[in-house]
Symmetry: C2
């Protein structure tokens, strides 16, 4: 029941918050579809699907703009405090992460076109596996956010380590192909970037999980876990 | 002179806006230094300087957080409208772009460490040239933003094309080195990512220029110019 004295304002705020959450959920669905389609376009070398992903990116950008506008309006008109403010501001962060997920998906779709000009390389399958893992984590992070499910958020956050490990082994695998045959160098260079796009999407899923944990508990998930691209900081044996 | 009736509120808003602009200017200086140091660390293989860049990234993140908090407070307390709202909201976008610039600079610094494990490759110099160009554009974009200089903003926006062209030729150059000698494959793969980091920083400088133009004129810079990484969408001759 709304507090006595401000029932109208409170109800208006709740209705706006519902609309905001629905907009974010829709944006999550769009980003998820974009990623799934991009990975499928890559694995099946489907140019039409890749084009669909490239065109679809605008709709995600527009949705982010509209989330931002909703947030500004709510801050100015409702002046939310404490928990409400936390939820409203978290929407900006989640929308920003989803916009970047879709951006990376479009990046992958562009590479599908470039790869068409090269001989097929078997490493595409391994990249597809990384794509499947990252898609799963993105879905889980979005479910966790919708349901304010802290347990699920923590699991996503922990599993980002798997993404990093798979990315590192993929990086080595791609370099091996390049060393085996110079004709693999150009296509595998593009796959290196695709793998990097996927690794970054994993980071954005982690961000969504961190936001979920923060709005549910008010506490930030610790930074005690190795994160991100480890290929840039450890020795890469030249013969491997 | 402040409008009659609300001089106190107006002055408070102006003071807060000054503080916000100063914070953004400081953050711009930090991002510029981080980028300059990262490029220098790369070209001179200076591990100590690279470490400094890696450590310095936290300060940029913290500054972004504090920009975000200032903006939320201003929106809730002052409820700015029209031009004021545009300036306040633009700060979020500029701070976000600068945070990502610093992130990419830290990414470059990590690669300086990895490259130490490999034989030196001459292509580092070409990457340094791209770094110098991007640093110049970042500086110009920040000067343009501080002074609300639309002319300068348009020049930065136009010159991002140079970044894209230099990036594309660098991409080809790196692939050539990799084809010449398999021992170049690992170090040049890392340089591909460094080049990509720099190309993205160019995009963020362009974002700052676009924001400058938007708050000065209320109009968005058109999208009629080819933008971004063209290596992903055109044919890459395998022999080149």
């Amino acid at each position: 029941m709304p507090p006595i004295g401000t029932p109208h304002t409170v109800r208006a705020f709740d209705a706006e918050l519902d609309a905001l959450n629905q907009k974010i959920a829709r944006m999550g669905g769009m980003a998820e579809t974009q990623l799934g389609d991009a990975v499928q376009a890559l694995v099946t070398a489907d140019l039409a699907l890749a084009d669909q992903v490239i065109k679809g990116d605008d709709a995600v950008d527009t949705t982010e703009d509209s989330v931002n506008e909703m947030v500004v309006r709510m801050l100015a008109l409702r002046q939310p405090m404490a928990d409400d403010l936390r939820v409203v501001m978290s929407s900006l962060k989640v929308a920003g992460a989803l916009e970047r997920v879709a951006d990376h998906a479009a990046g992958i779709a562009h590479r599908v076109h470039t790869l068409k000009h090269h001989a097929p390389v078997p490493a595409v399958k391994s990249v597809g596996r990384l794509g499947a893992l990252v898609l799963e984590l993105l879905k889980d992070s979005l479910d966790g956010y919708s349901n304010r499910d802290t347990e699920r958020a923590i699991r996503v956050w922990e599993r980002d380590e798997e993404v990093d490990a798979l990315y590192s082994s993929l990086f080595r695998e791609l370099l091996t192909y390049m060393m085996e045959d110079p004709r693999n160098i150009a296509p595998c260079s593009h796959l290196l970037f695709v793998a990097k796009n996927l690794e970054r999407i994993g980071d954005h899923a982690t961000t969504v999980a961190e936001v979920t944990h923060f709005i549910a508990t008010g506490k930030r998930l610790g930074r005690g876990r190795p994160k991100g691209d480890t290929t840039a900081s450890f020795d890469m044996p030249e013969s491997n």
